[in-house]
Amino acid sequence: MSAPLEVGDLSARHGGLHAVRGVSLRLHAAEAVALVGANGAGKSTLLRTLAGTHPAATGRVLLQGVDVTSWAAHERVRMGLALVPEGRRLFGDMTVRENLLVAGENGRRGPWTLAAVLDALPALRPLAGLPAQALSGGQRQAVAIGRALMANPEVLLIDEVSLGLSPLAVQTVYDSLSALRQHGATTLLLVEQDLDRALAFADRVLCMREGTIVLEGDAKELSRDAITQAYFGLESSEAAA
């Protein structure tokens, strides 16, 4: 059976900068994978390349066994891949309900309807009539996740889950993600700077440095030190110091 998402030898550039270098990975159905790494490691570029908003220089992206490397972003969404981009990118003048409807009307058909999303993310229900620009950071992140769900993705990519959010808002977002995992079989790949959060939430952790995946392992088996070493490219003794 094909994996929901499979990436082979993927590279992407920002002009002369080789931001993603020969990344290969495979996500299994319904698993949650955390992607960690320092700023500039290539995490966001990798996610954008997977979603089709950044061109791949080489390599291929397979969604449920179908090669979508040359597909436009909206075609990948309809194939079952959604990205919650860094900065949320909500449509500020539109209401929360309208933000959700845009994805619902243009994405895949499936179990995630407006009612289902509002049931799964009940904090959004009283906000449905408000313009998105009036929301707090945590509320915006919840709307962005809800909006991605409305497209009924098989694979959900979330960039910088907790960036810029208060601890309370981060907790709210992770509660929503936990509820989402209980709800169905969506595969999650999330970029997270908070290592503890990443280790607690994910099944698997990938660490990127300088455009490549330098560490991969089960979240329950990887130590914080091992990830820190890979994160900064340190030797064991340096990490211990």
């Binding site: 979603a51 089709g52 959604a82 981009p85 243009n106 895949r108």
Partner: protein, 301 residues
């Protein structure tokens, strides 16, 4: 003076229809279509062709022209504007400027340089009027044009706020990449917006030919008027185009009271005043939606 102000207000309806397409294109695709006025004149000639050559009744010719103009807008966006937009902001300006020249000379080649009008083909509507209390005379055609403007803007408002296409247009106008991440085909949305914008230009052109004489080179003047109405009303604001059109129309009508040349002069002066006020950061001079926001902020404060 009241009479002139009312005539100006009604004229604002025509300007609103003319400007709505320009505003929509700028709001969604982020470029100024310098051929907008020429497309309006092409619409006028399309109706004239239907009436003079095919013998269609005027309103039937208008109804036939609208889908043809929509198709033209779709095709232009698909094959010309979208390609130009990929090359930055300058190329679309050059391309639409060139398109305007092609349209002008194409119309000249087909219809010649004689001025034409639909005024002779709409019967009493071209001159009939109502006299209001106080002796104010309101022409039936300007009143119809104003009502049409309200209907067009109301229809566009409904389209944008209540339909799937409208939500996709607004999402794409706000952030095209984020819209694509929601499954929206931004290219298709752009083509739909282009179709709406060009058909609105055609409608404005038909109304222009009913109230005035047109010639193949009348487009640039229409573009300037539309551009001024859009800027006065707030770029991208739907009802702002009506407000901008009314300000422009009233200024022109009042200017014409002073001197015949004052018609154009006062319109341009009103535009410059608003522009200078905006550049100076005087937000309260904004009209349309931005003005409403300013007012609401002021009320809350």
């Amino acid at each position: 003076m009241i009479d002139a102000a009312i005539q100006g207000l009604l004229l604002g309806g025509y300007y609103a229809i003319l400007a709505a397409g320009l505003s929509l294109m700028f709001g969604v695709m982020r470029f100024i279509n310098l051929a907008h006025g020429d497309l309006a004149v092409a619409g006028a000639y399309g109706v004239l062709f239907g009436v003079l050559t095919l013998g269609l009744p005027v309103w039937a010719a208008v109804l036939a022209m609208l889908p043809l103009m929509a198709a033209l807008g779709w095709l232009l966006q698909r094959w010309l504007f979208a390609r130009a937009l990929r090359a930055g902001f300058l190329l679309p300006l050059l391309v639409t400027f060139g398109l305007g020249a092609v349209l002008q000379n194409g119309l000249y080649g087909v219809f010649g340089s004689d001025t034409l009008s639909l005024g002779n083909h709409i019967g009493a509507l071209s001159w009939a009027s109502w006299t209001l209390p106080g002796g104010v005379v309101v022409g039936q055609l300007p009143a119809l044009t104003f009502l049409l403007a309200l209907a067009v803007l109301g229809g566009l408002q409904c389209l944008l706020s209540r339909t799937r296409l409208g939500r996709a247009i607004r999402a794409t106008a706000t952030d095209a990449e984020a819209a694509q991440l929601c499954g929206v085909d931004a290219g298709r949305v752009h083509r739909a917006a282009g179709a709406i914008a060009v058909s609105l230009a055609g409608l404005a052109g038909a109304l222009l030919a009913m109230r005035a004489l047109v010639n193949p080179y009348a487009g640039p003047a229409q573009l300037i008027t539309a551009f001024e109405a859009v800027v006065i009303g707030g770029i991208g604001s739907l009802w702002g185009t009506l407000a901008g059109g009314i300000v422009l129309g009233v200024a022109q009508s009042l200017g014409a009271l002073v001197t015949p040349q004052g018609f154009d002069l006062a319109g341009h002066a009103a535009f410059l005043l608003v522009l200078v006020a905006r550049l100076a950061g005087a937000r309260r001079f904004q009209l349309g939606k931005p003005a409403l926001r300013t007012y609401l902020k002021w009320r809350r404060a």
